[in-house]
Amino acid sequence: MRKLICIFSLLATSTFALADAADELNQILDENVPKVSASIDKASRATGIQDLTDSQNLTAQALETLKTQVFTWLAKRSNQEPAPRTIAAMNYWEVFLAEVRGAQDKLEYLFDSSDPALSAANERIRHALNSAFFL
């Protein structure tokens, strides 16, 4: 009987740990995805190069922060088999990155410019995106 309780206890601990992993990743995404989306929306409405560059720097910063948090989360969970809810959150992360990449492609097409400050901001976004894929 004691052995049975012990097994149930271990199973419960494991399940809670996996649920926590999904909740933790979802919390990171819920807090940070809207920030990235808002700065992309701002960039898409820019009517001057300074507005656009400022918004692109904000996107880069928000994306770098988000990526750091996701990677920190991943490092803590790397030895765990992900639960379905965790896989769903990870898929959402990858689809979100693809959305940002699609938006960035369009912004660079619309505002094709050799301005150094804008190019530097674009490069930061590209670097963050390229290193965030393929978890």
Binding site: S37, I40, D41, A43, S44, R45, A46, T47, G48, I49, P84, A88, A89, N91, Y92, E94, V95, F96, L97, A98, E99, V100, R101, G102, A103, Q104, D105, K106, L107, L110, F111, D112, S113
Partner: protein
């Protein structure tokens, strides 16, 4: 800002959010059936957006006529009117949103089997609505010089 442009931005705000929610649902799907259902919802949300833009156009075109927009170094010329600048921003908003949705679709096709008939059909409808959005009635309102 004119009432027409305020209404147009509201249409974009509301419908972009709906489409984004459907895409999030698709990305979190546990299997191809859930993904297909969510993709069908994305297609419907995009269709509604196109319809609302079309209705907005038919209500406002006679009143506002066409807007002339002079572009210099990728942005509206410094002499451009506020209205012309607002139109520039609206068209770019739509264009960037279209790029976001297209990017998401590319990734969803990697996560789920793009050859599945239901999923493929739903994705095809999304791409068709995206084309409609890209070539939508608003594009004809602005004449770039």
């Amino acid at each position: 800002m004119s009432a027409g442009i305020t209404e147009l931005n509201r249409i974009l705000d509301e419908n972009f959010s709906k489409v984004a929610a459907c895409i999030e649902k698709a990305s979190r799907a546990a299997n191809i059936h859930e993904a297909t259902d969510a993709q069908n919802l994305t297609g419907q949300a995009l269709k509604s957006l196109n319809q609302e833009l079309s209705h907005w156009h038919s209500r406002n075109f006679q009143v506002m006529g066409q807007v002339h927009l002079k572009i210099h170094n990728n942005f509206p010329d410094s002499n451009s009117s506020d209205e012309a600048k607002q139109w520039f921003a609206i068209l770019n908003r739509i264009s960037v949103f279209e790029g976001e949705v297209r990017g998401a679709q590319d990734q969803l096709e990697q996560l789920f089997d793009p050859a599945d008939p239901g999923f493929s059909s739903a994705t095809g409808r999304i791409k068709s609505e995206l084309l409609g959005l890209q070539r939508g009635p608003l594009q004809g309102l602005v004449i770039q010089e």
